[in-house]
Symmetry: D2
Subunit: 261 residues, 4 copies
């Protein structure tokens, strides 16, 4: 069984900023794809903001097992209709890996229901990402901490729902801390937020960072068929109830009627 991973990338900084263009000549998505080099159980492709339908056509999403998301300067350009499409696929069972500035992406905020805000600083400071459960599948093959020489600081409070699992916490040279690896379920889909990846630094060449991304992709994969009816609200009439029933009392709805939304 091959896991079909799709890297969604905004791909704007590389086009307008020489620093980023020099750092990521194949685009950040090009660097991220290297996470999967030689991994026979995972196929990888990419989709870009400027592609038709942002590269997220209905049939393409239907064939995606795990979506990875990097966005920053152009969150607002992502069309709401396509955000809903992505969100529905997560509910159905597609995994979602949200990277770095993707904390403010529309799909992540939509799935969390909170501001997803944080404090930040771009000073090239040292980051230490501590791993809280070294035997977690996402921690496979990693040391007790991942040290990144230069990174943007993200600091608490990070306004997210309480994570179902807080797997990583970052220490920053300037005095802040941050929940850098957090997991949730929404419907049948698994979601992992992973902090590092500022566009001005070579973070996505760090093999430990790439390993987390690869591990998280395997962890988020759900082999079950898509739960396409996840947002249906079926009426189960009295004569189809698990235990036979006679209707008692008054009734507003007609037999077989759909409910209100």
């Amino acid at each position: 069984m091959t896991i079909r991973a799709l890297i969604w990338h905004e791909h704007r900084h590389e086009k307008k900023n020489k620093l980023v263009a020099d750092l990521y000549p194949q685009g950040m998505h090009g660097a991220l794809k290297k996470a999967f080099d030689g991994e026979k159980d995972i196929s990888v492709d990419h989709a870009l903001l400027d592609d038709p339908e942002h590269g997220l056509q209905v049939d393409r999403l239907a064939k995606t097992d795990v979506l990875l998301w990097w966005g920053h300067v152009a969150h607002g350009e992502v069309k709401d209709e396509i955000v809903e499409r992505v969100v529905k696929r997560v509910w159905e069972g597609m995994g979602l890996i949200v990277l770095h500035s993707g904390h403010f992406s529309k799909p992540f905020k939509r799935l969390m229901g909170t501001p997803c805000a944080l404090r930040w600083r771009e000073a090239g400071e040292n980051e230490r990402i501590w791993i809280l459960n070294r035997n977690h599948p996402i921690a496979h093959g990693l040391p007790e901490q991942i040290v990144i020489e230069h990174e943007e600081m993200y600091g608490e409070p990070f306004s997210i729902p309480e994570p179902e699992e807080t797997l990583m916490i970052s220490w920053f040279e300037g005095g802040e801390v941050f929940r850098s690896g957090c997991a949730w379920r929404r419907g049948a889909g698994k979601i992992f937020y992973f902090r590092p990846g500022h566009e001005a630094y070579p973070t996505y060449y760090n093999p430990q960072v790439l390993r987390v991304i690869r591990n998280a992709t395997r962890w988020a994969y759900n082999p079950a068929p898509a739960w396409t009816s996840v947002d249906d609200a079926p009426n189960v009439p009295h004569d189809k109830a698990p235990v036979p029933l006679e209707v008692k009392g008054p009734k507003l709805h007609e037999h077989g009627e759909a409910g209100y939304r």
Copy 2:
């Protein structure tokens, strides 16, 4: 300190359906207000869908500590702008009690990030609501189960995020079960979903049901000043870092610049 409760009600069934009009001559909001009769620490008012701005003006919401929400047939008429206003107030610390068919209301779905779907049947069947922690503040003064003679059935799967606390589970005569009392935090706000309350039955005259609503209002109250900056993403420049820093490496953002959204 008085808790300022506000009951938001769609108030449509009473106008178009004689059954509901006869059952709730003062409107369902009128019946719900009785939950707070004689309670000196709680003041209560109501707001209706057809009021200007649905009765949820900015300054009124700012003065609301706990919002209760009943909607059904007209979920779609609630303006998105006002939904965002409500959601922001929850993040700031306002409590939210979502009742019955409010599972499909826009504010609840927005805060959960999931479909909030379920199966249902209108057959006037018996419901037994079991309380899992009898010493929880919301269970104060209640027996081990609340028995309701006639209710609409709501059945699992209820597509919500894993509750931070599952306090009540319902048994239905027809064979289904449902998580009928569930709690979450979103930002500084506490949210409680409480299942019973079909418009065709006299559920909101049941003193135990009203007691849950009153208890939940007290539980959801947060006396802290509104966290109005909950969705800010402040830049903390290197010279204001908790630990003094020199900038290292390249930089994309200007000093003092706002981040991207």
Copy 3:
């Protein structure tokens, strides 16, 4: 990679009660082993209370990936020393599937830190186990509900810590409900409690029940090497700190000293 499952069984009812002996002529463990018939990725063995060291020798546990536990009448005979051994292996990463009356077993109560009590009735009544997330690995291949003709009733309140995932809820003919499928992590180990399995009924011949047990075994498997140091409390002296430090202020502990327990 083969998952090494071990079924631990008290095996007392079969010896003293003709009803159980006739129902499970190979013992309940014999019936449970059929869950894994023909599954090439899982090897299965059993261990019994009356075996030396209850069949849970240190080296045998070290080679066990997932332990399944059924006990009832003789919980008190399980030696505390061996309970600690089992608990330590769970922390290291061994999966644990606790069945039915195992809710009162020493390892489960030890790992939960709560009474794990419930209400019960032996009346051969109908049970309907509703599945809340049909795409969960433990729900693989199952219908939306598992119907068991005759079972013992277990009813809420079930005094467990809030489950990290409530996957199944039971409906009983007599009016009670129960959280029948619950998951937790303790250290690196995954734990699943699964309700059905009263010794007086043929529950462990039900293919859907056996499927849950098989699915849960795969779900609980952690391929990472045992985290044997999970209960160490290492001293990291100032000269080995991630960031170089000079000692400031007074000191009680000697350099290199072990902490207190």
Copy 4:
């Protein structure tokens, strides 16, 4: 209603170590009691390891609403029988505030079901405790971070069950992070672990630290009557079932019999 707080203190370091004796001439419990000075809604007393029954007689615990616990060098001297007594009271609804080295105390480990281990260093380094939800009752009146000049380092991984709420995370000068404020429920009791308080430093004279302790005491208070039957497992015979039942199938238990433990 007065909250009856009881500070349990080991009180050994003060007797054998001049440094601690000079720092806390009234004992650490004397300093901790100052947290409640002038608070009219809270009465406070103390109990010491060397008191008869460690000062935790059955009737005294029955009259305690919130227990605070500081222990370190003598965890092993606390009698198991009294640990069980404390644990039972937590299940019944007594609040428990576990301080600093109390992470290895018997009651805390017993309630968590995990090793509760961590890494540590005594180097008088700087600690910054970040508060994740500034509107939480335990954060009342506090700034966004509590800065402590000299503290012992506690570092992750902290082997606890996933907190139901992670409220505080510490940053240490030497490069580590730690979940310093964590909340759980066990039965009807609320538990808060709060990290700071090494005996070699004047931490318990810090007004912000004392404020957290005072806030947590109010938060942990449960006014409901003790749930003394929390570990009962009542048999509900078929003729007392919520829904009338006839016994079907075979039966092992006698009518009215107690279950097995």
